[in-house]
Amino acid sequence: MASIAMDKPGATALLMGNEAVARGAIEAGIGVAAAYPGSPTSEVLPTIAGAAEEMNIHAEWSSNEKVATEVAAAASFAGIRSLSIMKQNGANVAADFIVNVNMTGIGEAGMVIFISDDPGGMTSNNEEDSRTITKWLDNPLMEASSAQEAKDMVKWAYEVSEAVNLVVFVRGVTRLSYTKGNVILGELPEKREKKAYFPAIWDMYNPVKSKFTSGPFPVFHKPLHEKLEKARAIFETSTFNRYMGPENPELLIITCGACTSYSTEAVEALDVGHRIGILKLGTTWPLPEKLVGKYLTSTKKVFFVEEMDPFVERSVMELAASMLPETSELAFYGKRSGHLTPYNEQSTDLVIEALRDILGLSYQPRDLNYEKEAEEAVKLVPHRPINMCAGCPHRATFWAIKNAIKLDGRNGFTCGDIGCYSMAFAGPGFFQARTMHAMGSGAGVANGFGNLKQFGFDQPVLAVTGDSTFYHAVLPALVNGVYNKSNFTLLILDNSATAMTGFQPHPGTGELATGEPAPVVDMEALCRSVGAEVRVCDPFDLEDTTKTLLEMMRKESGARVIIMRRMCELVRAKRKIPRPYTMHVDPGKCLGDSCGCDRLCTRILGCPGLMWDSEAGKAAIDEALCVGCGLCADICPVGAIIREEVS
C-alpha cells in the first residue's frame, strides 16, 4: 500500500507477483518500461508508473505489444535497462520483433520481458503456453514460483541478459501474478550516471561485429545459438534450481513455476516426503542438462508437474533419450501418460490425485458423511453467469444491434472482439457476437465477409471493437476496409476506458500511464481521415441507435463507422459523476410471468440491478446493485419500471 519504490531494504511487504516483478525491475535499475494491458499482467506497468517520477523511469502504455518491445529494445540499444510486459497473446504479437532483435542482438543494457500465461483461460480468450515461443525464438527462459522469487528472478535476469546479449523471458501464470505473498525488499539502485546514447556500430568488413542490424542472416544465426549455450552454462549453477528430498528417491518430481508449491504441498499432504524428491527448475530453457541428468539417474520414476504444455517434459525426455542406455529403465509420468492434462489450471489437489495413482496411495481429505452432505447441499447453489455491470452501455448497444439485425431481416451478424463487450457472445450481450478471435480480429474478419458479394453473400456485416482495442489493433483493418471497399459497418464502443483489464489509459483518454495529461488521438477525425463515413450515437438512445444501425447496414459501400459513445458505468462511478435516475418497479403494473411480458427485463435484458421476486411474482430493483442508468424503463412493455430524475 506504500510506494513500490520505498527505500526499506530488508522490510517485508505483501506484494502480488505483478508488483514483485515491478519491484524487481526497479531494484535492477530499469529506465524504461513499456506494455499493453493484458490480464493477468496489467498491474505491472501502473505499479512502475507510480514510482516513475521518483525513480526516473519512462513508463508507457504502448499501443500494442510489438511497439512495446521495440520501445524497450531502443532503451537497451541506448544503454538503459528496460522491461516489457505482456500476457500470452502479447508474445504472439511481439514475436516478429523479438525474432529479429535476436539476430541483431540487444544493446549493452539488459532487456527482460515478463510474460504471464493464463492456464484455464480465466481472464483470456484462449489458453496458450508461451514458453514454446521463447524456445522457438531462441531466448533464455526463467519461471518464477512465488512473488519473492519473481522479484529476485527479474533482477537476476538483467545480469543474464547482459552476459549473453539476449532478451531474457521471465514467465509467470495467473496464479503467480495475482497471488500476494511476503516479499523481502532489496536495495534500490544507485543513481544512473551515464547518459543514454545510441552507438551506431557498423563494420563493413566484419558484419558480425555490427550491431542492431543483421545480414547475411545465417552468419548471425550461428552466434545466436552460441549465446544460448552460454546461457545454459550459467543456468547449470543457478540457485533458482533446487532439489529437495532423499538422495535416491523412489519418484522424482520435476516441476517449475507455480506448480512448485502444488508439488511440495501434495507431497506433504500425502506424507511421502521420504519417498519423493522434488527438482524445482527456475531456468527452463535452455535446460540445464548436466544438472537434470544427474537427478535423472538417481531414480526410477519421473513425474513432470507443470502448467499446460509438456514443455519441460519434452526437453527432459529428449535429454533422457540422449543419455540412453543409462536412462532406459526410467518410467515417465505427466501429460503424455495422462496423469495431468495439458489444458486447464493445475492444483495441489490434482497433483495429489496423480500421485495417488502413480504410487497407489490413499487419501481422504474429509469425513465421508460430510462429503455426502456437502454434495447434497451444493445442489441448492445456482449457477452465477458472468454479466456486464449494471448500467453498462454495451448492454444498450447490443440490445439495439439485436433488434436492428432482426428488423433488417437478412440474417446479419456481428464479428466480436476482446474486451468487456466480448460477453456479447453469450446471454449478457444477447448472443450477438458470432465470431471471437484475437484483438482486432472482429474488424479483420468482417473485412473478409464484406467482400464475398460475388459469391452471392448478402448478409449485412457488423464488427464491434472497444476504444482501446481500436487504437491497438483495428486501424489496419479499417484502412483495409476502406481501401478494399469491403462492405461492413464497424462499431466502436467508446466508453472512455480500457475497462476489462482495469481502466488503464489509452491514446483516446488524454492521460499517460503516469497520470500526466496526454494529447488525445481523435477517434472520429482519424476514421474520417482514412475515408470512412462516421456517425456518432449514444447507445442509451435506443431509438436513434437502432435507426442508425439499420441505415448503415443497408448501405452498399466500403467500410463505415458508428461510434457508440457513452462512458463506462464504473468510470462514471470512479469520477463521482452523480447517477442520473432512481428506479423502482410498480408491482401493480408489472406483468411478470404472464403473456405480454414473460419476464422480459430479468430474463432477457438481465441487468444485475434487476431481480425477480419469486414470492410476489414481480420484478424488482436491487437497490444494492442498481446504478440508475434508466435503460430498463425503456424496455418494459407496460411502463412498470419507473425512472425518476435525481434532483
Binding site: K406, G409, F430, K589, S594, C595, D598
Partner: protein, 373 residues
C-alpha cells in the same frame, strides 16, 4: 375457446412460417417480443409463454366462426355471401373537405368523425400512410387526425399494432377500422379476452373495409419507388371492372399500371382469405363500383351500426340511396367466388378436403353451400 398450450413458437410455425400471415397486427398488440416492420412480423426475442394471446387472436389459427359470430353479431354464422346484414345501401359524405380526401364516398371518415364528436368514442384504431406512403397502425383522436388517415394504401398495415399505444388501464372508448382479417382478429379478442392488453370490450364500434387482396409493403414499395417519388403520390386506386388497372395519382399526373404488374406484390396469404366484406363488423364499407363514382356500398350488420348511420343521415352529414338489385347481386357473386377460391386454395394446401385450416365451427350445411362448385 382456449388454444391448448400455443404461444409464439407455434404461431411462427403454423402461420407466419406457413405463408398465412395477412398482416393484421393482432399478434403484436400485447406482445413486446414481436413487432410489425416493413410488412413483416419480426421476432425480436423468444417468448416462453405456452398459451399466448398472439396465437389465440390470430385470424389464421383455428377460429370457431359460430362462437365469434354469436359474440359480435348476436347470430350464428350463416351461409350469406356477404355475411350477416340488417341493411345494405349506398352512402356518401356531404362534407366537401372529407370528400376531397376520400377514396370513394368518405363514409368511414364521416361516421367516425361523428362518433368522436358525439363522444360515442374517444379514439380510433386505424391506418395512416407516412410521407413515403407506407401505411402504419395509427390512433386518431380528432377529425383532423382522421382526415390524415383517409384514402386506401391497398396494403396490409398491421393496423391492430396501434392498439399497443393504449395503456392497460385505459378507459378510452374505441373504434377500430380494419380489413376482414383485422376485424376477425378483433372479434376473436372479444370472444376470448386477452390476458394483459387493453380490454376489447372497450371497442364500441368496428368498421370493416371490403378487401380482395392486399399488397405487401416490403416488396411493393421498392417497386413503387422505381415508378415515382412516393412522397408525391396523393392517391392510389383500383377502379372496378371493366377497368384492370392500378392507378397512382400524383399532383402532376396519373400513372396507370396493369394489374398484372402489381400481382407479384400481393401477399400470398390473401389467397386463403374467405372474408371479402369484413363480416365481423358493425358496418362494412366498400366502393360502389365504377357506375357510381364517389359512392360507397354500406352493409349495416348490427344495431350499433344502424344507429350511427341514422344519426349521420339525421345530421345531414351523410346522404344515402338504395343499392340497385343488379349491383347487390354482383357483389354477392364476387363475395361467394372469393369464399370458394379460398376454400379451394386451403384444401389444396392442407391436402385434405376436411382440413380447412383456420375455418372452424361451421355446420356441414354452411360449409357445403360455401364450397359448392
Amino acid at each position: 375457446m382456449s388454444s391448448n398450450g400455443r404461444g409464439s413458437r407455434k404461431l411462427i410455425e403454423d402461420v407466419i412460417g406457413a405463408g398465412l400471415c395477412t398482416g393484421c397486427g393482432a399478434c403484436v398488440t400485447g406482445c413486446p417480443y414481436m413487432v410489425a416492420y416493413e410488412g413483416r412480423i419480426v421476432v425480436l426475442d423468444k417468448c416462453t409463454v405456452e398459451d399466448g394471446d398472439c396465437y389465440k387472436h390470430c385470424p389464421r389459427t383455428q377460429t370457431d366462426m359460430n362462437a365469434v359470430s354469436e359474440k359480435v353479431l348476436g347470430v350464428p354464422y350463416g351461409a350469406e355471401e356477404v355475411g350477416h346484414a340488417l341493411k345494405i345501401h349506398m352512402a356518401r359524405s356531404t362534407d366537401d373537405q372529407i370528400k376531397q380526401k376520400a377514396q370513394d364516398g368518405g363514409t368511414v371518415t364521416t361516421l367516425l368523425a361523428l362518433a368522436l364528436d358525439e363522444g360515442i368514442i374517444d379514439a380510433v384504431v386505424c391506418t395512416r400512410m407516412d410521407e413515403d406512403k407506407v401505411p402504419h397502425g395509427y390512433l386518431a383522436r380528432s377529425r383532423d387526425e382522421l382526415l390524415q388517415c383517409a384514402g386506401s394504401s391497398y396494403e396490409a398495415s398491421f393496423a391492430l399494432e396501434a392498439y399497443r399505444k393504449i395503456p392497460h388501464e385505459s378507459t378510452d372508448k374505441l373504434a377500430v377500422v380494419g380489413l376482414g382479417c383485422e376485424t376477425e382478429a378483433l372479434a376473436k379478442m372479444k370472444t376470448d379476452l386477452p390476458i394483459n392488453s387493453v380490454n376489447p370490450d372497450h371497442v364500441q364500434l368496428t368498421v370493416g373495409l371490403f378487401c380482395g387482396w392486399a399488397l405487401r409493403s416490403n416488396t411493393f414499395h421498392p417497386f413503387l419507388r422505381g415508378l415515382c417519388d412516393p412522397s408525391q403520390a396523393v392517391k392510389f386506386d383500383i377502379p372496378h371492372t371493366p377497368h384492370y388497372t392500378f392507378d397512382v395519382y400524383t399532383s402532376s399526373e396519373t400513372k396507370s399500371l396493369s394489374l398484372d404488374e402489381i400481382r407479384p406484390y400481393i401477399n400470398p396469404a390473401c389467397q386463403y382469405c374467405w372474408d371479402m366484406t369484413a363480416e365481423f363488423s358493425d358496418i362494412s364499407v366498400g366502393s360502389a363500383g365504377s357506375k357510381f363514382p364517389g359512392w360507397n356500398t354500406v352493409i349495416i350488420r348490427t344495431g350499433t351500426g344502424a344507429k350511427l348511420v341514422e344519426l349521420a343521415e339525421k345530421k345531414g352529414i351523410m346522404e344515402t340511396q338504395p343499392l340497385p338489385e343488379w349491383r347487390l347481386s354482383h357483389l354477392k357473386t364476387v363475395a361467394l367466388n372469393r369464399k370458394r377460391t379460398a376454400f379451394k386454395n386451403i384444401t389444396e394446401k392442407t391436402g385434405d378436403k376436411n382440413d380447412l385450416l383456420y375455418v372452424g365451427g361451421l355446420s356441414e350445411g354452411v360449409i357445403d353451400k360455401l364450397r359448392e362448385d
